[in-house]
């Protein structure tokens, strides 16, 4: 069993790409992943710091910690339009993680910190002949990662309404490679861009408990402008063209979109052992109009280029249930619908965004009171989508699939 697993692991440790809409990763707490990624109206543990700061003050215990990691096993295939050609996403593993710590100095006040990897995209395309795949003039590989650090304060009035706000400090790194369609005796020219940045945003929310068992939440996470200033741009082109492609600095501008979340949940049954909740997440994707590269040294060939994305706002709809089977075991299940923010004319191998339907399951095991080991599994149905990135006339059909197991620990006392 173990050997087979390890073999499988090496055989198809799959590539990692953004999944669902765009490049937003929604894996913030293993418990919430288990129930369809809902969380805006929940206040079970310190993950409220992320899902809705307004809920953090409702967490009962004085201290609350959560930490965990997800393993994104992704697989993608590209079939060219009109050409007998396929490429696959190179096998890589992406592991978004989180860490939350909340402390209640008084009954109604909570302070805490949330560390999270809310956005990321890491993929490399390959074909049978190697990494000179058909889309190499658009992208060969890209690694983009953002980590947020969010100190948060939350206050509740009675057990009815809570407010919270967090300052988000985000760091980001980008590392991408593409080919340039100018051939020398050694083949294509190449471009590598590598840089990092940091930026600020905020996360604010309100939670209301209007009636016994009911909870409503509203949360807004602001847009964060990830402007990578002065990234290193390294060109390799035939010598006769090198003056047109000087090694350079480049500013890369990529916005992380704002999210507006509404959640409602209801606890019922004996000892409230059942909970059902929904979540509507409006993602302000339209802020991602284009990926802008502005080179410092400008020449006839190297300039300010905007790679159009033309994303449109989308609503993610989520539903989840939780069942406390016993004092030791809690079970969860859920699902969601995550529509792609990109149109068929701008479907780009850089972020092959497909509309996804996710199915989730999860459980927590409590070896002793307050401490749980949490596990989740998220399976994305893996749709198929045909489109053309029209600015580059790159057409084909993409199919991606994701299996994302997650493991976490929670401790409240």
């Amino acid at each position: 069993m173990r050997r087979i697993t390890v073999l499988l692991l090496f055989f198809c440790l799959a590539a990692t790409t953004s999944f669902g809409g765009g490049y937003q990763v929604g894996l913030h707490n293993v418990r919430n992943i288990g129930m369809g990624l809902i969380g805006t109206s929940l206040s079970y543990d310190a993950s409220s710091l992320f899902y809705n700061p307004g809920g953090a003050a409702f967490v009962n215990e004085k201290w609350s910690f959560s930490a965990g990691v997800s393993l994104i096993f992704a697989r993608g295939t590209y079939q060219a339009k009109d050409v007998n050609y396929q490429a696959t996403l190179k096998h890589e593993l992406n592991t978004p993680f989180y860490f939350y710590a909340a402390f209640k100095p008084t009954k109604n006040l909570s302070v805490g910190i949330a560390v999270d990897a809310p956005y990321g995209n890491r993929l490399a395309w390959k074909d049978d002949a190697g990494d000179n795949w058909k889309g190499r003039y658009l992208i060969k590989d890209i690694s983009f990662k953002a980590i947020t650090y969010q100190p948060t304060i939350s206050y509740k009035i009675k057990d009815i309404i809570g407010f919270g706000v967090g300052l988000v400090y985000a760091t980001g790194t980008v590392d991408m490679n593409k080919a340039i369609p100018l051939q020398g005796v050694n083949g294509d020219g190449t471009l590598n861009i590598k840089g990092s940045t940091s930026s600020f945003g905020f996360n604010a929310g309100i939670m209301v408990h209007p009636d016994k068992g009911w909870s409503l939440g509203l949360n807004y996470r602001s847009k964060i402008e990830m402007n990578v200033k002065g990234a290193d741009a390294t060109f390799s082109v035939p010598q006769s063209l090198s003056s047109n492609f000087p090694n350079n600095k480049v500013d890369v501008m990529l916005p992380l979109p704002a999210n507006l979340d509404f959640g409602a949940s209801y606890e019922f049954g004996k000892n409230n052992q059942w909970m059902i909740g929904i979540n509507l997440c409006y993602v302000f994707w339209s802020t991602y109009d284009s990926l802008v590269f502005n080179f410092e040294k400008k020449t006839a060939a190297v300039n300010r280029t905007a790679t159009p994305a033309l994303y449109v706002d989308q609503m993610i709809e989520r539903i989840g249930v939780q069942f406390k089977a016993s004092k030791v075991i809690t079970l969860r299940a859920g699902g969601y619908y995550d529509p792609s923010p990109v149109s068929n004319s701008y479907l780009n191998p850089q972020t092959p965004s497909l509309t996804e339907i996710g199915v989730t399951g999860g459980l927590s095991v409590y070896p002793f009171k307050g401490f749980s080991v949490d596990a989740s599994f998220l399976y994305l149905m893996g749709g198929k989508r045909s489109g053309t990135y029209s600015p580059d006339n790159f057409a084909g059909t993409y199919r991606t699939g994701f299996s994302i197991p997650g493991i976490g620990l929670s401790y409240s006392f």
Binding site: L9, T77, V365, P405
Partner: protein, 464 residues
């Protein structure tokens, strides 16, 4: 706990593994590509960079097509490969031919008018090497490196009528046919028919205008009625060759899509002679003294003077085109197009030779012929139920640029990435794009679903 973890991990990997997409569903829809034969000129032969050379042939349009046909039952495609990567091109000279290699982009130091380097350098097409004439002639007439019969019957220089000529492969004929003709008395069409194609390709007629246009003239154009007579004979002969083949033909691109005719005029304006009142008066004196008072120079910008086909001198007009062969050094350093400043004691009238200029009247006459040929080609294709690749229209769409998989291509010389260094023939990437257009025409006509070739597999120009 461990067990659960293993189960979850295994499940994760298994479910993530199966993400297949059906491969391209190729279909011939009844077309038989077991014997594909192509007939044409240099465009078909894989001639490029001013010469016939090995990798150029390997990247020829019909060879790229034949590779795609293999997915729908296509047979082997044999080409009369030349045994040299340097290649052989030639120009007729009195009593024979003068040979040279292909041209490659080279960094050439810029010179002043006295032949001294000025410290800068430019990227220019230059012969890849300089073997002696005997070597090049030997390479040109050496038998192909593979045995025939040859599916690719493209012969550089061939006109529509030339493919009918018995003896076109003789010593008096075309060296590019002589090197692989089955006999000295056969014709291109005969050798093609003898192979009994199941599917044929015919792209002929380019040289019926180009031979004249490349020489800056409109006097050697094949008359339209001659074209109308021979074209259906050519397709008819192939159709009647025995196996009831289907086929594809192509229209003739107008010269305005070809960088050979458009490049220099983008850099050198037709009226690029600025004169002061004094200079204009001096030139008028020279011209009138030497019997050319019909040319009048004025203060300001003046047109260059060139020699027309009938020997008379004329001033250029807006829209007249310089050819890529224009000796720009003579213009810069000797006053070509104005007056020869190296002559003493007085400058001498020095028109640009007519072979370097295609004036508007010549262009219009050439375009009229191209349009007539293309009407004939489309009519014949319609009557004989053949697919037509409208290369004239297609190539025009490249004047403003097209993009394939992130590669921007246009008809601009060198930087456009479509044409080879001779400015007339396509480079491998251009050939792939053209081959794909032929395939699109076949699919559209016959309802087949033949895959196209991957453009990113074919290089454009190679830069040093």
């Amino acid at each position: 706990m461990k067990k659960i973890l293993f189960i979850i991990l295994s499940l994760a990997m298994l479910t993530a593994c199966e993400r297949k997409i059906d491969e391209f569903a190729a279909s011939a829809n009844g077309l038989d590509f077991s014997k594909f034969v192509s007939v044409g000129n240099s465009m078909t032969a894989g001639y490029a960079d001013g010469a016939l050379y090995l990798s150029g042939q390997q990247n020829s349009i019909p060879n790229i097509m034949a590779t795609q046909f293999k997915t729908v039952g296509g047979g082997e495609f044999t080409q009369p490969l030349i045994g040299t990567e340097e290649g052989v091109g030639f120009t007729p000279i009195p009593g024979g031919i003068y040979c040279y290699t292909k041209r490659v982009l080279t960094i050439v130091p810029d010179m002043d008018c006295y032949g001294n380097p000025v410290g800068t350098a430019s990227l220019k097409p230059a012969f890849s090497s300089n073997p002696d004439q005997a070597t090049l002639l030997q390479q040109l007439f050496a038998p192909p490196t593979v045995a025939g019969p040859y599916n690719n019957m493209g012969v550089p220089g061939a006109t529509l009528q030339a493919i009918f000529y018995p003896g076109y492969g003789s010593a008096l004929g075309n060296p590019y046919f002589k090197r692989f003709a089955t006999s000295a008395t056969t014709s291109v069409l005969k050798d093609a028919m003898a192979q009994q194609p199941t599917f044929f390709y015919l792209w002929i007629g380019n040289n019926d205008v180009l031979a004249s246009a490349l020489a800056g003239s409109d006097l050697m154009l094949t008359p339209a009625d001659t074209f109308a007579k021979y074209y259906p004979m050519a397709t008819g002969a192939l159709l009647a060759s025995g196996k009831q083949p289907k086929g594809v033909v192509a229209t003739i691109p107008d010269i305005t899509s070809i960088p050979f005719f458009t490049t220099i005029s983008k850099q050198l304006p037709w009226n690029g002679v600025p004169l002061s009142a004094t200079q204009a008066a001096q030139l008028n004196a020279v011209y009138s003294l030497q019997g050319h008072s019909e040319i009048v120079w004025k203060e300001g910008l003046n047109p260059f003077v060139y020699q027309k086909e009938n020997g008379t001198l004329a001033q250029m007009q807006e829209g007249d085109l310089f050819l890529l062969t224009l000796p720009t050094d003579s213009i810069k350093c000797r006053g070509m197009g104005i007056a020869d400043t190296t002559k003493h004691p007085m400058p001498y009238v020095y028109p640009i030779p007519g072979k370097f200029v295609l004036d508007k009247a010549e262009q219009a006459n050439i375009k009229a012929h191209v349009d007539q040929y293309n009407t004939i080609i489309r009519q014949v294709a319609a009557t004989q139920n053949l697919a037509v690749a409208d290369m004239n229209t297609y190539l025009k769409s490249f004047t403003s640029g097209m993009v394939f998989d992130g590669i921007k291509v246009s008809t601009t010389f060198v930087t456009g990435g479509l044409f080879s260094t001779d400015g007339v023939h396509l480079n491998p990437r251009g050939n792939c794009i053209a081959a794909n257009y032929f395939i699109q025409a076949i699919n559209a006509k016959y309802g087949s679903n033949i895959p196209q070739a991957n453009v990113t597999n074919y290089p454009g120009l190679i830069f040093p």
